[in-house]
Amino acid sequence: MHKYLTKRAIHSFLSLAGLLVLVFFLARLTGDPGNLYLPIDATLEARQEFTKKHGFDDPIYVQFGRYVSDLAQGNLGDSLRKQRPALDVVMEAIPVTLSLAAVAMLVALFGSIIVGSLAAYRPGGVFDRISSISSLAGASAPDFWVAITAILIFSVTLQWLPTSGMGGPLSWIMPIAILIIRPFGLLVQVVRGSMLTVLSSAYVKTARAKGVKESAVIFIHALRNAMLPVITVAGDQAAGIANGAVIVETIFGWPGVGKLMIDSIIQRDFAVVQTSILVTAIVILSINIVVDITYAILDPRIRHK
């Protein structure tokens, strides 16, 4: 376990390093921040002072060297827009996205396990058909359209739910619902497929020959085996959501990291772009490690390999 985690940490560090290099240079392709932060009629001196103050006048490799050495000392730079440390700005947004992602994934995972398992139990049955069609529809519907339509129906017309903002329990309903549509549809299909394979496996036959009740056959003998591919896909989806539920956060005005990233890219707030990508990358790598550990917990064959 120890050895595995060390190996994994080294891999993660290498991919983070690669990512940072890429993001540093790509961000600087978006243009000169001075054009955005100074008045349109700013004098040449003012512009020069701005570039000098933020070190944009140095050659790009010098800027990169400075960035790396600051990073080594734990300094991620200041936000141009907010005039305070970029890390603070990002750390305010991260919990919003993470709680959104966690709730959404839990709902999607548990919902899809139940729906997918029941669908697989009688393939081609009524429940299977309804769940297949609706999950397919869910997985194919464009989420921005569903979100706006939902606001129109539930907030504007019926006035049941708030249109936007993060607040009481009611304000969570629509963002979560929109966020899980796609992962839920996908996961139902994965659970169903995986369950179908497992339910026709030899060890399920053995369990039945032992006189085990059908509910225990499905939820004890089959489910743990069927979960393996599901966890891989779920981890992938969780990473997708943690990566900034950009559309949902933007539409519903949630101050999450997805919205922060978009805003900082538009505003050429390089330090915030770099920091938010760094932090989300760490989150995603952690999710992957959690997926691997879960795999090993569920399947002894992986533990002993």
Partner: protein, 557 residues
Amino acid sequence: MSDPKVPVLSVRDLAVAFHTGSGEFDAVKSISFDLHRGETLAILGESGSGKSVSSSAIMGILDSPPGFIRGGTAYLDGENLFEMSQTARRNLMGDKIAMIFQDTLAHLNPVYSIGWQISECFKVHRGFSTKEAWGRAVDLLEKVQMPNAATRAHDYPHQFSGGQRQRIMIAMALALEPEILIADEPTTALDVTVQAQILNLLIALRNESNMGLILITHDLGVAAEIADRLIVMNQGEIVEQGLVHEVFAKPKHPYTQRLMNAIPGRGPYRDLVVSDEIAKPILEVRDLTKHYAVSSGLFSNSTNSIVKACDGVSFDLHKGETLGIVGESGSGKTTVANMLLKLVEPNSGTATLDGEDIFSVTKDRLLLLRRRFQAVFQDPFASLNPTMNVFDIISEPWRIHKDVMAKDRYRQRVLELLDAVGMVADHIDRYPHEFSGGQRQRIAIARALALQPEIIICDEAVSALDVSIQAQIIKLLGELRDEFGLSYLFIAHDLPVVRELSDRVIVMKAGNIVEQGTVQQIFEAPKNPYTIDLLAANPIPDPAQMMARRTARGIGI
């Protein structure tokens, strides 16, 4: 205890069918039989005979859909299994009637410990507490002679050998002392010495508990050794039944007679005279060695160990000779084949073909040498590319070795090869899935012959085939050898098959050759204790020899 004269299981007119794309298929057509307490009933048949389907139907684990019971009754202790409620049926399963299977790795749940899986029986049927049930599971593991039962109960199926897993399955099936145990090919995947242990265990447990044992098998030897009565099935029907020694001594039905005649390893020994012309071997293998480092696990820090898959193996192969290599799993016999085929790189050693070592020649030279030795593998379902038709499969070697054959001659030559292996011209444009196992193996042999090799390496080439098909393929291999002067390296775990075809035999164990000699020496006067054990463990479908061994097992006739 109830009247011993009354059968514990009484099956009447059982018919099982499957829904298929082209209508209904009758897998079992109205069979009837009885099973008594303390009796071993063998149901013998080849693939597709309906022997497994009928037992699945009785057990209540028929794949349904598409399978369904068309009619008939199965009375267990006076109750019809097919008419009781689902719950009543489930209460009987695992309690009064239990089953063990061939592929134990697939039939045990990979993610639960074996102790958990055995103790589940007590929890489901007896409502035992977890602790109590676990204790009983450990007791059972001891009963089936699992070493360190208390510790090993915490382990998972993949951590056991095939023989140990079958012991686990037996422990699980016998947990609640059922009245009937259905054993579906319980020893088919096991080595002969392990097979003998498992059969002995089954018989001992049957004698102890007085249960009725149904043994489903394709192996006449196994049936001969432990069954009291025998049912022979063919194409969904019972063609013959009777006491086992009577059926073996005097098979009445033509199908049974054919089956008995197909048993390999009973003819005269082959005796190849090594004349001056062939005194010089065409293949000389010297000190062939392959060691594998077993790397430590993903989550463990255990130190690496070395597995000596092949540890200094040397032998010669002469023209027209068949050299049998026998051994149990892990003996290294397949590693030898894989190294000679250059599928596995040896650590050291040479294999000299006409003065050239195939392990050290240049790539271009190897391509030329390769024409001279070809291979036929075990699984004809996996060794033929499903997207290529027969013509493509057989002519593929010429597309690689371009100078062997002009393109316009391909078709003619493929037809000749098909004819040589007993196939017809019609087959040339068909795909592998349209053929049976035996036909596919013929196609694989035709492919091996395409480059007119001198040596064919047959790695368990007839092991996956039914006994009557096996006999045909062995006959074909013998005819081709004599016609084309081929040399075979014939690797098999099945001793009678090796005896049938080989001139000389090598016995391997744990990467080493423990004994070699002519086929007669090995089978008539084995010297090494391992060879003696191996021969002793091999079931013999011969009424006379069978009697002696049954007495030794305490079965009687």
